[in-house]
């Protein structure tokens, strides 16, 4: 079942085009990451999807229907920093959300427990640390077990312990089978949590698909033998490497998916080459992401 369908969505702020004809489809149970550097249009996209902003052109549908405020009661969202009534305590702030969602107050205990805020339930929102505020935002998003969770940079401003806690909470929801839409500029976050990813830059969709396909960690190998040019000629059209170049007298190759360093060694040996130097250089996801964002600028 398609949970979210976005078609040609565009939004400009005067001369700045924040989102350009974005088309995306998110299926039930997917953990979908919107990945991109700051200013890539992630927050604008999520703000449109949660009713805060209006798109200039294009359309989107939640659960197969045109968007309505009532649909948003089935979506738990945290867009940028959470905003609540500073003079109200956590419990009363969550009661307001319960009222908006037209549900009872029974779920407040659970979400406060899950976000480890139950001992601060009577504290006013303004007295919370940034990390706690962020956790309250997640608690509010989790109220009523929503079908979809929309989180925009949920670990922003958190300390390492806070980041780990928030990720753990999100992962728990993903394991439960919730549909997640997560915007982040942190690649490792998307990699750890999401099954699918869309990479955005300056409002353009650069790539989308499963994390496996888009962000597979390629193995890069450096090697050499006494006859490097001959071996290169044989390797280039082979099924083993996807990319081959020479660096300081060494051959550097990116292995095709499913191929290992042993396959490369065996191939060379079978063709009569004895490899004198062989080392693995993993190409980090970060490097791949930066490469993608850098190279595919339209």
């Amino acid at each position: 079942m398609t949970i979210l369908e976005i078609r040609d969505l565009s939004k400009s702020y005067r001369s700045v085009k924040a989102v350009k004809k974005l088309t995306l489809s998110i299926e039930q149970g997917q953990a979908y990451g919107l990945l991109g550097p700051n200013g890539s249009g992630k927050t604008t996209t999520l703000s449109i999807l949660t009713g805060i902003l209006r798109q200039d052109t294009g359309a989107y549908s939640w659960f197969g229907d045109a968007p309505t405020p009532r649909q948003r009661t089935k979506i738990g969202s945290l867009i940028e920093t959470p905003h609540f009534y500073p003079y109200l305590n956590l419990e009363k702030n969550l009661k307001i959300i319960c009222k908006i969602k037209e549900m009872g107050f029974e779920d407040i205990d659970r979400v406060l427990r899950e976000t480890k805020l139950d001992d601060r339930r009577k504290s006013r929102f303004k007295t919370l640390s940034l990390g706690m505020k962020q956790r309250l935002g997640i608690a509010a998003a989790l109220l009523g077990d929503p079908d979809v969770l929309v989180l925009d940079e949920p670990t922003n401003g958190l300390d390492p312990e806070g980041i780990a806690e928030v990720r753990e909470t999100i992962l728990l929801q993903v394991e439960k089978g919730i549909t997640l839409i997560l915007a982040s500029h942190i690649l490792s976050e998307v990699e750890k949590i999401c099954s699918h990813v869309a990479i955005l830059k300056k409002g353009d969709l650069l790539a989308s698909g499963s994390v496996k396909d888009i962000l597979t960690e390629e193995e890069v190998v450096e090697f050499s033998c006494s006859e490097n040019p001959k071996l290169r000629k044989l390797l280039e059209p082979s099924e083993i490497v996807s990319e081959l170049r020479e660096e300081n007298g060494l051959l550097v190759a990116a292995l095709k998916p499913g191929k290992s360093i042993e396959d490369l060694n065996r191939f060379a040996f079978d063709k009569g080459f004895v490899i004198s130097h062989l080392a693995s250089r993993k190409k980090s996801l970060e490097a791949q992401f930066l490469e993608l964002v850098k190279d595919q600028t339209p």
Partner: protein, 275 residues
């Protein structure tokens, strides 16, 4: 509707500035019960007690307490601008309220505040009337009680104007300044500028039309009647409206303004950026 009232209830009943301002409003109204008769003792020749008697007390009280509605409007401005400064309009939309519901919840709150104000004025008026009238029958006591209706409209409209200022300006201090500036300076100055007969439209100026819903009682006529006859006055002193539009005309004008103001409020919220 019940949902919107409950949401507003959680917000405002825990908001200390709201409690303080509303408390001040109630104290000011109640103090009137004590202060007006005291003023009366300072003026030996003309007895102000005459305006505290049924049925004239209705007109006097609705007129004299009309400016108290400014305090209620300030509460509305504060509550509305706070939603912008705390970004809580945005939060409510994210979790499932429509933009129009954001305005509806404020209008419901304003309606309830106007009801409270009208009830309080009604109660105070009855107390003053009961303590100052020589002869009390139900007919005399309730003869001008209908004045509470234009008072309610006046109170409701003034708060709606306050909300519109808050929606347009978004900043608490600036909204209050602009609202008070218009109510206290700009509107009276405009009214004074357009004094010529051909400029009768001055009676249609929003604040002026709204204030005239609870017009100044014809005190001279009341005292004159008292000199002619020592008996309690049965007739309403409000058959003669001093100047401008008749009361029903004013009610129509203000109702027209109300429709425009509410429509504008919804339009503004529809187009407002909530980020």
């Amino acid at each position: 509707m019940k949902k919107l009232i409950r949401i507003e209830q959680i917000k405002i009943l825990n908001y200390i500035p709201f409690q303080i301002l509303l408390g001040l409003y109630v104290v000011a109204i109640v103090l009137g019960l004590v202060i007006y008769p005291l003023i009366d003792r300072q003026i030996p020749v003309i007895s102000l007690s005459d305006v505290f008697r049924f049925p004239d007390v209705w007109a006097f009280m609705t007129w004299i307490t009309e400016p108290y509605n400014i305090l209620l409007s300030l509460i509305v401005i504060m509550i509305t601008t706070n939603e912008f400064s705390n970004h809580t309009f945005k939060t409510q939309v994210i979790f499932g309220l429509g933009r129009r519901e954001l305005i509806s919840q404020k209008i419901v709150l304003i309606f309830l505040l106007a009801l409270l104000a009208t009830a309080l004025i009604g109660l105070t008026t009855i107390l003053l009337g009961l303590t100052h009238s020589y002869k009390i029958t139900l007919k005399i006591a309730l003869e001008n009680a209908w004045m509470l209706f234009p008072y309610f409209i006046s109170s409701f409209t003034l708060m709606i104007i306050g909300m519109l200022f808050a929606l347009l300006i978004k900043n608490t201090a600036l909204s209050i300044l602009a609202f008070l500036g218009f109510r206290t300076f700009i509107s009276p100055i405009l009214f004074m500028i357009f004094t010529k007969k051909e400029w009768e439209f001055r009676w249609f100026l929003p604040f002026r039309a709204n204030t005239k819903l609870t017009p100044l009682p014809d005190l001279i006529e009341i005292f004159q009647r008292k000199l002619d006859s020592p008996e309690p006055v049965n007739a309403s002193s409000f058959e003669i409206i001093p100047k401008g539009l008749p009361l029903w005309g004013n009610i129509l004008v203000v109702a027209g303004y109300l429709v425009i103001l509410v429509f504008l409020s919804y339009r503004i919220m529809d187009r407002k950026r909530l980020t």
